[in-house]
């Protein structure tokens, strides 16, 4: 393909075709063959989709949308109204920065991925080869996809939010990393990181070796202790003949001759066998001591009454109880009998009382049947007696009361006897238990006495009644015997020590040899640690120096760019007193840190623009940094700048200054700039129309949007020379 453009103006993008991509549905071809393209239109008409299309074409993704996607499989590339199964396509004709030839690049795909095709006069490449060709054509040295993306977003596409992010939310270290990369100095940081890694590796090695060293030190200390102990044993070892003689003498006086015999009669290891016997005797004596204490306590807890007595008492109470229970039966029968008599008498007297009460009112002087005279007074008196309490009833009632009381007394007595019987039974049970426990203890004592028989255990074994008086005798014997056994044991140990003296000398030789070997190993390891520590010390200094000097290199490279952002900042002059923009480049926590600064030169004050500036002023500062890096980066020399609505929040003075600045920007790079404000787009077009060279300015007006995509009105303006004001003044004068 041949170049359609003269060389008067920088043009990278000649045209762009967008289809099924985000806001675009039907294919639209957009002419871009001018060094200044002003994109205008109200919000929502497709301007951002236009910039997204260029970004997607070059990077294969849209950075600002990556973090906003709720689901990874959310389709954010293909137009919502595109036919199902279709793919997004963005195609551009771009100029190869090195050859000046035109290349057609086309990206097709969706959210899952995309593929790039690149077509030149000679060849057609697809995939990774096409990506590499495109990056090279755009004048960017890196072949790394991520770095290319970072360069593009840091120096070619200005989206206000992203640039502000660079200024205000990136860490100083992250900003340093990006800037040093853009300045082509990333190799220094990579080198320093590698050096740092080696420092850490050496430190880890020291740590590891140091642990070994500590272990070796511990081993040496232990071996030294073994040697010391061995030497002490040799020094304090007794003379064999003397110790044997002493043992013989003492064995007889202690009455332990049988142990000496046993030692002599055992061919090998007689001393050890005797020591084991002594140990066994000692254990039995300890058991005996414990048993005596237990028995004393047991005898202290002896019940008041013995088993025979308690059983006799219980039987007596039981007999009496049975007798009383028999009497109670009789008492209850008598009580029942009295009750029945009482009932009968009561019934009879009640009938008489009733008759008397009826007869008294009817009483006359003469019998109504025989007319015989009646002694009414006498009869009335008798009848009235019948109405009162009858002696017979009183007697029956008293008898019943007496019988009832006798029964209750009997029952009470029985209850008392039952309680007594329970107590007697409990006493009997306790006496039985005590007897049983006594029997067990005596069995234990007999068992121990049997094992200690050879040591002359006190005899004879007494009856249980005399046992309590016999226990102190046994206890005295036990403590005396234990003392004798201890003495004998010490003498046997002396014999053993005297016998083992020559063996200990051999052992000492072996221990000393081992100690020397361990000391030598320790010294070797100490040498390794010392060597590594020396290397680490040197490496630490080297890393520190390299970081410091790397910061100097980056600072010097940035200082070279200082006039560029100073130039840009002077043109826009957003702040009345902070009239200089800079970058502080420091070593912070052993890492490079880049800190943006605004400076009041007269007052010699520094502030961070993201903190000290208003939003509009900070936008201007961000714009200056961005443009400076775009125009002066040694690594990312894109031939174009895409500015998506950079004029937000700027006042008239800033806007006028920016419009003037654009006149100069277009001379260096193809400028594609968007604004949503019609007034500003008019101003930009007016300012950008050429008045000297025959070059074009294109205005793309996104006038409306429907489901087919945006409607774009294209206006191309050529050069419009102006009449000189000074010339006309000269004519006037």
């Amino acid at each position: 393909m041949s170049s359609p453009n003269n060389n008067l103006e920088p043009v990278v993008f000649r045209s762009l075709v967008v289809e099924r991509f985000r806001g675009f549905n039907d294919p639209v071809e957009i002419p871009l063959d001018a060094s200044a393209v002003v994109v205008s239109g109200a919000n929502g008409q497709g301007k951002t989709s236009f910039f997204d299309a260029i970004q997607w074409l070059l990077l294969g993704h849209i950075q600002r949308l990556e973090e906003l996607r709720f689901r990874k499989n959310e389709e954010h590339i293909i137009n919502r109204y595109a036919p199902i199964g279709s793919k997004a396509r963005v195609q551009a004709i771009i100029k190869d920065a090195s050859s000046g030839n035109w290349i057609t690049v086309t990206r097709t795909g969706n959210y899952r991925g995309s593929i790039l095709e690149a077509e030149t006069n000679e060849e057609k490449l697809v995939g990774q080869k096409a990506e590499v060709l495109m990056r090279k054509a755009l004048g960017v040295s890196t072949s790394d996809e991520d770095t290319f993306g970072q360069y593009f977003l840091s120096t070619a596409l200005l989206q206000q939010d992203l640039v502000r992010e660079f200024l205000s939310t990136y860490t100083h270290a992250k900003r340093y990393e990006i800037i040093s990369r853009l300045l082509g100095l990333s190799a220094i940081d990579e080198f320093n990181d590698k050096l740092d890694e080696t420092k850490k590796y050496i430190a880890e090695q020291i740590e590891k070796t140091y642990t070994d060293l500590q272990d070796a030190k511990q081993s040496v200390a232990e071996a030294e202790q073994d040697v010391r102990e061995s030497k002490a044993r040799i020094e304090t070892a007794p003379i064999l003949s003397e110790t044997i003689k002493e043992l013989e003498n003492e064995a007889n006086s202690l009455g332990l001759g049988f142990l000496l015999e046993r030692m002599r009669n055992t061919s090998d290891d007689g001393e050890q066998i005797v020591l084991r016997d002594i140990l066994r005797y000692e254990k039995q004596l300890e058991r005996l001591d414990d048993l005596i204490i237990t028995m004393r306590t047991h005898f202290d807890e002896r019940p008041e009454l013995d088993l025979v007595t308690t059983e006799k008492i219980a039987t007596e109470i039981k007999n009496e109880l049975n007798e009383e229970k028999s009497k109670l039966k009789d008492d209850r029968a008598t009580e029942q009998e009295c009750l029945e008599t009482l009932e009968k008498v009561k019934s009879r007297t009640d009938d008489l009382r009733q008759l008397a009460s009826l007869a008294i009112p009817m009483l006359t002087d003469h019998c109504p049947v025989c007319s015989q005279t009646i002694d009414t007074e006498s009869v009335r008196t008798k009848l009235q007696l019948l109405l009162g309490e009858q002696p017979e009833l009183l007697e029956a009632r008293n008898k019943y009361k007496e019988a009832k009381e006798a029964t209750a007394q009997r029952a009470k007595r029985i209850s008392q006897l039952e309680e007594k019987h329970r107590d007697a039974a409990a006493d009997t049970e306790q006496a039985k238990l005590w007897e049983k426990r006594t029997s067990h203890l005596l069995d234990d004592l007999r068992g121990i006495s049997h094992t200690l028989e050879t040591l002359n255990f006190p005899q004879p074994f007494p009856q249980s009644d005399a046992l309590i008086d016999w226990l102190p005798i046994v206890q005295n014997w036990a403590s005396g015997t234990l003392a004798k056994l201890n003495t004998f044991e010490q003498l046997v140990q002396s014999v053993i020590a005297a016998q083992s003296a020559p063996e200990e000398s051999d052992r000492l030789n072996r221990l000393e040899a081992k100690l020397n070997l361990l000391i030598s190993q320790y010294n070797e390891k100490r040498g390794v640690v010392d060597g590594l520590e020396q290397v680490l010390g040197k490496r630490k200094n080297l890393v520190e120096l390299a970081r410091k000097k790397a910061t100097e290199v980056v600072r010097e490279a940035l200082d070279e760019l200082d006039p560029v952002w100073q130039d840009l900042f002077s043109r826009l002059a957003p702040h009345p007193t902070f009239d200089r923009l800079s970058f502080s480049h420091e070593l912070y926590h052993k890492r490079g840190a880049s800190i943006p600064l605004a400076i009041d030169q007269q007052a010699q004050l520094e502030i961070s623009p993201s903190i000290g500036f208003s939003s509009a002023q900070a936008n201007v500062a961000a714009l200056c940094y961005f443009l400076a890096l775009a125009f002066a980066s040694s690594e990312a020399d894109f031939g174009f700048v895409l500015l998506d609505d950079p004029l937000q929040a700027m006042d008239d003075v800033n806007v006028l200054g920016f419009a003037d600045l654009c006149r100069f920007l277009r001379k260096e790079k193809q400028l594609i700039i968007a604004t949503h404000e019609g007034r500003l787009s008019n101003l930009l077009v007016r300012k950008l129309i050429s008045r000297d060279k025959p070059i074009n300015t294109i205005r793309l007006e996104f006038t409306s949007w429907n489901r087919s995509g945006p409607y774009i009105k294209v206006e191309r303006t050529g050069s419009r020379p102006e009449i000189s004001v000074l010339a006309s003044l000269a004519v006037t004068t």
Binding site: G184, I188, F191, E560, A632, L656, E668
Partner: protein
């Protein structure tokens, strides 16, 4: 004995030089009758009037008259776009002090009704302050990092050796191994 030019004259001469170097047509012009002539500079895009004052009160008094006169002479050119590109550069050698003066400064700069005005104060006798003032009217400063095309590790190596705190052989060896993607541990 030749007379020493006044400070105002020297500033105007310096302005003239800067703009002529940037290929502007420059000449003095009595824009307001009875007032010191301004310096007028023009190229196909801009018409710029430059005036310097010793004190702020003189500047604020004259600003309106100069602006009006400038817009009138451009207005005489029918259908010209330059009415949008007329700039007034007003500089003052002394600093602002009073609040009233700062208010006047803001009102003057932000009133873009007729022309855009670039106003700077506190220039004293420093001619080079004009370099910043005329920046919007001249081409961008062109700088490319000198690191381009140079081996950054070579620059680092030189700086480390210059410091005298490292053995040249050691750092050279480390860099060489790093470039070959080797292990730096055992150097």
């Amino acid at each position: 004995m030749a007379e020493t030019p006044s400070s105002s004259t020297r500033f105007k001469e310096y302005f003239t030089t800067l703009l002529r170097d940037a290929e502007y047509d420059v000449r003095p012009w009595e824009l307001v009758k009875g007032m010191d002539p301004v310096v007028l500079a023009e190229n196909p895009y801009y018409v710029i009037a430059f005036q310097i004052f010793d004190i702020w009160s003189d500047l604020i008094k004259a600003a309106g008259q100069i602006e009006l006169a400038l817009s009138q002479i451009i207005g005489k050119q029918k259908e010209t776009a330059k009415v949008w590109d007329a700039y007034l550069i007003l500089v003052c050698r002394t600093e602002l002090h009073e609040i009233e003066e700062f208010n006047q400064f803001s009102n003057l700069v932000y009133n873009t009704h007729r022309t855009r005005k670039i106003v700077r104060t506190g220039l004293g006798d420093t001619l080079t302050r004009l370099n910043e003032v005329v920046k919007p009217f001249i081409s961008l400063t062109k700088v490319r990092s000198t690191a381009k095309g140079r081996d950054p590790l070579h620059i680092l190596r030189s700086k480390m050796i210059e410091s005298g705190n490292v053995e040249p052989g050691e750092i050279e060896k480390l860099i060489a191994i790093f470039k070959e993607r080797g292990d730096l541990t055992n150097v």
